[in-house]
Amino acid sequence: MNSLAEISDKIIAATIELFTGMVMMDISVAGEPLITLGPLKKSITGMVGLAGVHKGILAVHFSKQVALDITSSFLGVNVQEINTDVQDAIGEIANMLGGNLKTILSDRGKDIQLSLPSTVFGDEYAVSSQVGGDQVILPFQVPSGVFYVHVELRH
């Protein structure tokens, strides 16, 4: 059984690998993990759900500017507004990190199901789940700001 601390270490490694190898953006850990996160302002969140022997969510929370910069770097074009490309890119980041989380929890893969990614965005909102398990929120620094990878799991 992986502890939340072990899972956090692996998600940090996976996030850094994703950003350096595929998004092509400098990234570093921005301090200690958080237990809770206040309301998100002018932000976009990508999310996938896990079901099966482990239930939970993996969400990535980006400010509007960070999301635009990440999508621009990801696609190699200058994106200036939240549009379907940004929603798709943020959803795909959540999907790839969710796939990593699934592999961390089960290397065989069939005892956990991963949902398709979804995104939400707005001027002010909060994210909560019905999972009711342990959660950790990992902050990362990229050139245009901080973003968060949020894992909530119930074993």
Binding site: G76, D85, N95, M96, G99, S106, D107, G109, L116
Partner: protein, 123 residues
């Protein structure tokens, strides 16, 4: 002769990134076609001259495993090789894909070097 490639992924971002990675990997390929799920892929496969399919697994409507299963029943396209590109790399899922004819798997996220290593032998 350069190979025509069909990229199957419900994420338009990922289709663009796979396409870019093919170019960055220095592979000699012909035309690139795109489909958003397995159903769209079958339409393209039966209409165009496709040599290699690169397919995600987790997709709406018809996922990558269902695409492999359906493709096997269509004589005109059943021998076209399919390489899975997915976050889903658990042994059971990849084992099922290979039992249905997938020739290999590439884990997301990937680099152009990884694309070259897996796809190069098929080109």
């Amino acid at each position: 002769m350069a190979k025509n490639i069909l990229i199957v992924d419900d994420s338009s971002t990922m289709r663009k990134i796979i396409s870019r990675s093919l170019r960055q990997a220095g592979l000699d390929f012909g035309d690139i076609y795109e489909a958003g799920d397995g159903q769209e892929a079958l339409v393209v496969l039966e209409k165009e001259s496709i040599d290699i399919v690169l397919s995600d697994i987790n997709m709406p409507n018809m996922n990558g495993i269902e695409l492999l299963r359906e493709k096997r029943n269509r004589p005109a396209v059943k021998d076209i090789p399919v390489l899975m590109i997915s976050t889903e790399t658990g042994e059971d899922i990849i084992g099922e894909a290979k039992s249905l004819g997938a020739v290999g798997a590439l884990k997301k996220p990937f680099t152009p070097d990884a694309v070259n290593a897996v796809l190069g032998p098929l080109m």
